[in-house]
């Protein structure tokens, strides 16, 4: 039977230390928008991880400079292409699905090799297009 009389006045919630609020234990960690994987920013091989190592998806938070967090878009960014820097490093080009903006980022050491390889082979996937290009050479 539910209690009818109230013994105490309603007390406000006890204050808690919300660790993930500001500069807490996971201030910079993020959860992937594509596959919901919890990703730590500490990545082997890069200091600026911005994409999920599993599905390579990213989030549109930066406007012009990397890390400025000034974009109001917050759209999901899908990996569009792979290119090589002159020193041989692979870079991923992301495109925002909601506003079409492009950005590039270095790959990390634990990025999914299969996903990277599929991305790199995508121009050669259409054999008609590729062979026409080779014949035209």
């Amino acid at each position: 039977m539910p209690r009818r009389t109230r013994r105490h006045e309603h007390r406000g919630q006890r204050r808690k230390d919300v660790l993930h609020e500001r500069d807490g234990h996971r201030a910079n960690d993020f959860r992937c928008v594509g596959c919901r994987l919890d990703v730590s920013v500490h990545a082997p091989g890069t200091a600026h991880r911005n994409h999920c190592p599993q599905c390579l998806a990213s989030l549109h938070v930066d406007r012009r400079l990397p890390g400025d967090r000034a974009s109001p878009c917050r759209g999901r960014m899908e990996a569009l292409a792979v290119f090589t820097r002159p020193d041989g490093e692979w870079m991923i080009v992301h495109q925002c699905l909601s506003c079409g903006e492009l950005s590039s980022n270095r790959i990390a050491g634990d990025d999914n090799a299969l996903a990277l390889m599929r991305l790199a082979l995508r121009p050669l996937q259409d054999t008609g297009r590729a062979s026409r290009t080779m014949i035209n050479l």
């Binding site: 569009l80 292409a81 792979v82 290119f83 090589t84 041989g88 692979w90 990277l116 080779m134």
Partner: protein
Amino acid sequence: MPDTSNTLKIHTFTCAWCGLTATRFAADGAMRNHCPSCLASRHVTDHVEGGPSDCEGRMSPIAIAVLRTGDWMLIHRCVRCDELTSNPVCADDNQLILMRMAVRPLAQPPFPLEALGSL
């Protein structure tokens, strides 16, 4: 007001990298924004804010992206301000540079490709 219907309407531009004079419209009527010979472009549109850009830097081709339809897009990066743009590939673009960009990542893989065979 002078009658302009008789004037030459073939717009041309000069490539910022190789100096080739190219027509603004390709043979199939598509708008062209990069040089068909060296694929370099010029940074005239601001894609972050929109509207014209005051950078005017040279944009070099860096990557090839593929749309769902199978069409190739050319991704340019401005050498002055590092902004990225994407444009459709024209029919008369230099196929050697296109193919070189497409297979360039495969020549320098960041991981041993033998590992993919055991998957």
